[in-house]
């Protein structure tokens, strides 16, 4: 990584009411990428529009490359990252799957690209609507995948994403996900850190051993064919790096808390789980609603807790097993589906932890597809179900909570 750029620092810490998309753009500006290549798509376009504004008014000094599509965008940031630059791109839905082959390449090259993916239903049943299915469609791409709950978390997670992806021990691309519409367009009061604070937080990356880099006039091969044992070695290294990324994410969260005073718990956040008999697991903006319901249920004497999944790839197996072990019933709320499993993907993966968790009622819920709201009564239904299942009453393993279903 090259030394930090030396633009004047005109931006002290400030608190402003901005959208989730604007929060992502401010975070990117503060991280000073050298190359940005992004193609507009609803509901992400505001991210690139805001960055273009920063670029035009001189507060963002970088190469801003206009492209004809997302496939080119991903190829450009992959190439720039292998040349040693800090990079950024953003997309959603159709755009995400249009760059799928390039995403696999970026991951295989171990290029530390930071990408925002504003969650939206992908192609198939046309829907310009929120939903996590686009992220799920790329879960085996070899990228790190993290999920934000609020506008402030979008801001903070993008900054943490650079610290994680560019860590010498990780060197992996990372996708920062947040719910389209619910988080992309809604505005809230968000603390925007000072330039100096973000520079200081990312400074350790510059002190790392230099990564190899493609440079004109030097004969370096990146992603050169490693047939046979070479291929296996690269695959194995990739998987081991993903395993290391879990603890590293916890570590980055703690470092962020020390610098900025906000902590999110790393891979997962456990909310009122200490003495909980029932636990609900969910992710994204639905966590805010769930938190409110959990508080009300606690007031009513129900011992229920909440686990917020912040990291989806790698999957936080160890921390989830530790917190879910010994409960009387577990519920999982998904905003997407796992084709071929008749359940949601987060539910599917938590089921795979059964040997560690133990055999207790494990109930899956599919809700919030295509911008359908996840209101408080839906979460209350889940808690009621979990309490009944814990008493030994029969409940279906997977339920669809969408209105009218």
């Amino acid at each position: 990584m090259e030394a930090q750029r030396t633009k004047p620092d005109p931006t002290p810490e400030q608190r402003r009411v901005i959208t989730g998309n604007a929060a992502a753009a401010h975070a990117v500006r503060l991280c000073r990428p050298g190359v940005i290549a992004t193609y507009p798509i609803t509901p992400q376009s505001e991210v690139i529009e805001t960055l273009e504004n920063f670029h035009v008014n001189g507060t963002l000094d970088c190469e801003m490359i206009a492209v004809e599509g997302e496939n080119s965008a991903q190829n450009i940031v992959c190439a720039a990252a292998t040349a040693g630059e800090r990079v950024f791109t953003a997309t959603s839905s159709y755009g995400l799957v249009f760059m799928y082959d390039a995403m696999l390449q970026t991951a295989g090259y171990r290029a530390p690209v930071v990408m925002v993916n504003v969650n939206r239903e992908p192609p198939g049943i046309h829907a310009v609507c929120s939903g996590q299915q686009d992220m799920i469609a790329t879960r085996d791409s070899g990228w790190l995948q993290v999920i934000a709950e609020t506008g402030q978390e979008i801001m903070d997670l993008v900054i943490m994403a650079y610290r994680l992806a560019e860590d010498d021990d990780i060197q992996l691309p990372i996708m920062v996900n947040y719910d389209g519409y619910y988080l992309s367009y809604l505005a809230e009061a968000i603390s925007i850190p000072s330039q100096q604070a973000v520079d200081d937080f990312l400074a350790p990356l510059c002190a790392q051993p230099a990564r190899p880099a493609l440079r004109p006039g030097t004969g370096m091969g990146a992603g050169a064919h490693g047939l046979g044992t070479g291929f296996v070695e690269l695959r194995r290294k990739h998987l081991l790096a993903m395993e290391r990324a879990k603890d590293k994410f916890d570590e980055v969260d703690a470092l962020f808390a020390a610098d900025f005073g906000r902590t999110y718990g790393g891979q997962i956040e456990c909310y009122r789980t200490d003495d909980a008999e029932l636990v609900l697991v969910t992710s994204g903006s639905a966590v805010g609603t769930a938190r409110t319901v959990i508080d009300a249920q606690r007031d009513a004497g129900i011992k229920v807790g909440l686990v917020k999944l912040r990291m989806f790839r790698p999957f936080p197996r160890q921390r989830l097993a530790a917190v879910l072990h010994g409960r009387q019933a577990i519920g999982v709320l998904d905003r997407s589906v796992a084709f071929g499993w008749d359940c949601g993907p987060i539910y599917q993966e938590i089921r795979a932890l059964t040997p560690e968790i133990g055999i207790v009622p494990l109930l899956g819920y599919i809700d919030g597809l295509a911008n359908m709201d996840i209101p408080k009564p839906h979460i209350e239904t889940i808690v009621t179900d979990l309490a009944a299942a814990a008493r030994g009453e029969s409940r279906p393993p997977v339920s669809w909570l969408v209105a009218g279903a």
């Binding site: 090259y109 050169a224 490693g226 070695e233 290294k237 081991l240």
Partner: protein, 109 residues
């Protein structure tokens, strides 16, 4: 055999770096695509008019201009036969590869 951790097994790794980097001036890892071949092209030098069609059409770019004809680098030639198909004077013929008695000129084996 169990997989070893390439980061902690000295000498076990093909790649010295975490990612798939190699030094092109020394040991760039590459495919010798010539090993994929079942037929190989032979240039009948007397028929060659040095028109360069084979050089232009070769997808693997293993044909380069020589003194009087266009020699083919058989390390990388996949044996696709496009050069033989395109040659206007039939100066390139495809023969079964690996046949010792194919009559190849000494410089085209």
């Amino acid at each position: 055999m169990a997989l070893v951790d390439p980061k902690t097994a000295p000498g076990a790794a093909t790649f010295p770096t975490e990612a798939s980097w190699s030094d092109a001036s020394k040991d760039l890892l590459c495919l010798t695509t010539g090993s994929w071949r079942t037929e190989k092209p032979i240039v009948v030098v007397e028929k060659c008019t040095y028109c360069g069609q084979c050089y232009l059409f070769c997808p693997t770019q293993c044909i380069t201009p020589g003194e009087t004809y266009f020699p083919i680098d058989l390390t990388y030639c996949k044996g696709c036969g496009i050069c033989a198909k395109e040659c206007p004077t039939q100066a390139i013929v495809m023969v079964a590869d690996g046949d010792e008695a194919d009559g190849s000129p000494a410089d085209q084996t």
